[in-house]
Structures are given as C-alpha cells and as structure tokens.
C-alpha cells in the first residue's frame, strides 16, 4: 500500500486518522500501532513475521543493554553482538531479495519465487534499531520499557516505507504520549498534500520521460537526449523522495510525532559536502554519528589521509545500503572520493572561486553520480556516459527520446522552479509587503493559500485516479 494509492488515501488514512483523534491518551498508541500493523500486513504479509521477531528481539536486547551498563567489556560485547545480528539480518534479506529468485528456481521451486522479496522498510528499520541500541548503551537514552511503544517506534506507518530515519531518543516522549494539536494536524495534512502533489504531479510525470530511456537494452543515445534524460531523472528522484518525505513528516506531524527532516534544497548546494548536508539528511547524520565519528576515533592515530579514507569507507557503505550492486558501489565511491578531494586545498580553492562555478561543479558531480545510481548495470552506465560526452553528428537533436507529452514538459519546468526556496520567499517578503500596504489583505492571502492547497489536492487526486501506480523509488532500498 503506497501513500499515493486510492486505497490509502480514501480508506485507510481517513479511518485511521478519525479513530486516532477520537480516542484519548495512551489509546492513541494502540490505534497507531494497530493501523501500522495492518499497513505492514497489507503491503508485505509474508515478512511481517520476521519483522515482528526483530521487534521482540531488539526490545529485549535494549532492556538487557541497559542493565549491563557500566560493566565494561561485557556491555560492549553485547552491543557489538546485537548490532552484528541486526546487520546480518539486513544483509541476508538484501542478498535473498536479489539472488533468492534464481536460487528457488534452481532448487526446483519456481512457484515460490515470489518469496524472494525485500521486507518493507528493513534498511530503515535496521538503522533505527542500531541507533537505539547504541544510544541505550552509551546512556544517551534509557531503554523503552513499554513493548507497544517500542513496536510503534519500529512500525509506525507514516515512516515505514522509506524513513526519515529518526532516532528513538528524539521521539521518546511522543511515543509514550502522542499529543497532536489541531494546528499540528492542519499543518501536517497540508504538508502531506504538497508531498502528494510533488510525487504525483511532478515526479511521476517526469518519470514518463526517464523510464523509457532506462528501459533500453543499450543506451544508444545522442548527447542531448542523454543529458535531458539524466537531468530529468535528477529532478524525478528529488521530487519522488522529497515528496514521499513531506508525506511521511506531514502524517507524523498530524499524529503528534516530529520526524527528522531529509531535504534542504539540495540542488542549490555549492559543494559536494554542502550537497550532503541537504540531501537525505537523516541517513547522512546517521552515518556521521554511528560510523564516521567512530571510525575517526578508532583510527585517530593513523596519519595518512585519515579523514579521506574514513569518508570513502562511509560513502561506499552508503552506496551499498541502497543495494548490493556495482552501480551503487561506484556511486558511493565517486561521492566518497570527491568529498575526500574537497578536504584538501582543492576544497579551499573551490570555496573562494566564482559562485556559479561552484554550483556547476557540484551539480556536475551529482548528475554523473545519478547515471550510476539509475543504470541497471555498470556497462550500461559507462555506455550512457559515453553517449553524454561523445557527440554523434549523424543524428538530429533529441532524436532518441520518445515524444514528450505536455504534462511532462510542464512538470520539468515547475520542477526546476521548485528547486528554489520559493515558499519562504513568498511568505517572507510578500507577506511583509502586504501587511504594510493593506493590513486587512493578509486574511485574503491566507484564504488564497488554503484554496490553492485544496486545488492542488483535487488535481493530484484526479491524476491518482486516472494514471497507473508508480512506487516510491526509495521504497526499494
């Protein structure tokens, strides 16, 4: 069940929210948990059992880690074992999802290949569990004593598909007693609608340009087509994932939970390190806290390119987190190497250079990275890069791309515009000007904004009902 499916929008969500707001106090936890279990069972019935096992296991591990505090090596070893068990499970399911189908066929069970799927949200769940166990061990938070609150932390449906990865210590109080206010609910639903529009009206429309290109067996493209398709994918990925994130955070807010933010206008970054402070922030800060600084500390005595090596390790892991393939490995390594380069004199020089050049350089690296990220395999990616940079004079411009429908062109144009912080610009400067010019007009402005939001919702719904379903890109990771 996706957030943009009619079933979710017209049945699951309204009933869940209505029940959630009717009941009081701790009962909200149970409604949210029951809805989340239903959501999981609906999306991924087979894998609910291993996920339930994982919740029980980590609930007890958390409590155990708390009692072992201060016992030196024993506590440390327990933490290491717990983290390794969770990572092993994640690796097992990632491998099983990619190789399981072949394996089952070879074992003479071709009817069972549907089993080789990936448990919904497991990559995100594993990282949250690791942060929880580590924080309990290092006394940053107590363990969760209430099993239902813990289960809700893992399963809560607004965040199960693809994060944002939110530390237990940050929403601990909310898990014990969710207290959504009417203002929160309104703001949350507004954000959900805008996220839905980002996904349905922009990302899914741009996907119609991108998908046919990446379905080709060999990307024999002219440079203009190749560039257009990968730039379109850059926008699609951003609107798909940030649209999802807005929906997740919005739903969370409506229910009284404050999830971590994930995006801050990433394509306006002036360096690659700046980009990673603006793109998938919840994943990056997880890697920063639980991997990078630990590496930095353990390897602190090594003098040879210590930070560069650590960054490279972290980004190779980030790549592999997306999936065990060479394309993600190269994508991660590319980012790791360039980030390492930015820690040298090159980075200092870049900082002082002409700003448009900084933006151009950053986008260039990011877009080259997306070629690997999107390509089905490495050979494909390199052929694609060749198509981007080796001109073919025999073909007319954009010869290799299928005709683009008007909604897709519009989505591209609106997408580019929305990469800039328009909202803060409008509600900042415009509101101030309106207020000084005509104090009464501000009510009109607010009404207009709400009306626009409703209009956007209606248009999105129209597209939801009339078009085919597109899953969120980050759901597969």
């Amino acid at each position: 069940m996706s957030f943009s499916s009619p079933l979710f929008l017209f049945l699951f969500l309204p009933i869940t929210l209505a029940l959630y707001f009717v009941v009081r106090g701790r009962a909200k936890v149970f409604v949210a948990l029951a809805a989340s279990m239903l959501f999981y069972l609906w999306s991924n019935p087979v894998y609910f059992i291993p996920i339930a096992g994982l919740i029980v296991l980590n609930y007890f591990l958390g409590k155990r880690l708390e009692t072992q505090r201060g016992k030196g090596n024993r506590a440390r070893n327990l933490l290491i074992v717990s983290v390794l068990v969770n990572i092993a499970l994640l690796i097992f399911f990632k491998l099983f999802a990619s190789l399981g189908a072949d394996l089952l066929t070879q074992l003479g069970k071709p009817d069972d290949t549907w089993l080789a799927a990936f448990p919904l949200g497991l990559s995100y769940i594993t990282f949250q569990v690791i942060s929880y166990l580590t924080d309990v061990h290092s006394e940053k938070c107590p363990s969760e004593k209430n099993f239902f609150s813990f289960a809700l932390y893992i399963l809560i449906f607004p965040r199960i598909i693809a994060g944002p990865i939110t530390a237990y210590r940050d929403i601990r109080d909310q898990l014990a007693h969710p207290r959504p206010t009417v203002t929160d609910a309104a703001a949350g639903i507004r954000r959900f609608i805008l996220g839905l529009a980002k996904k349905i009206l922009i990302a899914d429309q741009i996907a119609r340009i991108v998908d046919p290109v990446f379905r080709m067996t060999v990307p024999n493209l002219d440079p203009a087509s190749a560039w257009l398709a990968i730039l379109a994918f850059s926008l699609q990925l951003f609107f798909d994932f940030s649209g999802y994130t807005d929906m997740a955070i919005g739903l969370g807010q409506a229910m009284g939970f404050k999830f971590a933010e994930n995006f801050n206008f990433p394509y306006l970054a002036k360096s690659l390190s700046d980009f990673w402070r603006r793109w998938h922030m919840s994943l990056v800060s997880w890697f920063r806290e639980y991997v990078f600084f630990r590496l930095e500390f353990t390897r602190r005595k090594s003098r040879f390119l210590r930070q560069q090596t650590n960054i490279l390790i972290v980004f190779i892991l980030t790549g592999l987190w997306h999936g065990f393939s060479f394309t993600f490995l190269i994508w991660g390594a590319l980012h790791g190497l360039v980030l390492g380069l930015e820690m040298t004199k090159f980075g200092k020089w870049m900082k002082k250079t002409w700003p448009p050049l900084q933006h151009f350089y950053t986008l260039f690296i990011v877009v080259i990275g997306w070629v690997f990220f999107r390509s089905p395999n490495v050979t494909y990616a390199f052929t694609y890069l060749k198509a981007m940079f080796v001109p073919s004079f025999s073909k007319p411009l954009l010869a290799d791309i299928s005709p683009i429908a008007t909604p897709s062109w519009m989505a591209l144009a609106i997408g580019v515009v929305l990469c800039f912080p328009l909202n803060s610009l409008i509600s900042g400067k415009l509101v101030v000007r309106l207020q000084t010019m005509r104090p009464g007009s501000i009510t009109g402005f607010t009404v207009a904004k709400e009306a626009l939001c409703i209009l956007i919702f209606i248009v999105s719904i129209f597209f939801v009902v009339s078009s085919t379903y597109q899953a969120f890109i980050y759901m597969q990771f």
């Binding site: 290092s138 600084f293 630990r294 930095e296 500390f297 353990t298 602190r300 005595k301 930070q307």
Partner: protein, 78 residues
Amino acid sequence: MTTMEKLTGIVRRVFDDETIVLTPLTTANDVTGWDSLSHINLIVAIETELKIEFTQKEALGFRNVGELADFIDKKLRT
C-alpha cells in the same frame, strides 16, 4: 604550567590561532574552526602531548573546556 595553560597551547596550535584564550566555560562554539571533525584532531594532540588516552565516550562527552581540564587533571594524577 597549569593544565589550562597547557591546554591553551595545544588548542592554539591545533586551530592555528595564537589569540585564543580559554576559560573553564569556553565551549567549542566559541572557537572558530572547532567542529566535530577538528575535535578528533584536538583529542589526538592532547593524547600525544600529555601522554594520556581517552575512550570514545570520554572524548565526545565534554561540555566545556573546564570539564576537559578537570578530566585531564584526574587522568594525570592516576
């Protein structure tokens, strides 16, 4: 030389600024360039200079220079 004076010397060298003056209430925010990345370099410098060892929890747990100095004093005494 007191621990605070020694610490001031190390901090000045690591952050390359001879004008830095440390007080017990100084925090990382008060010193330009003292972020979580350069903090590890500072820890390494303190460890080599004063011949003490930090655990990870200790190294990342100080709220201000005073706590760091107290901790170093305690380590040096044992």
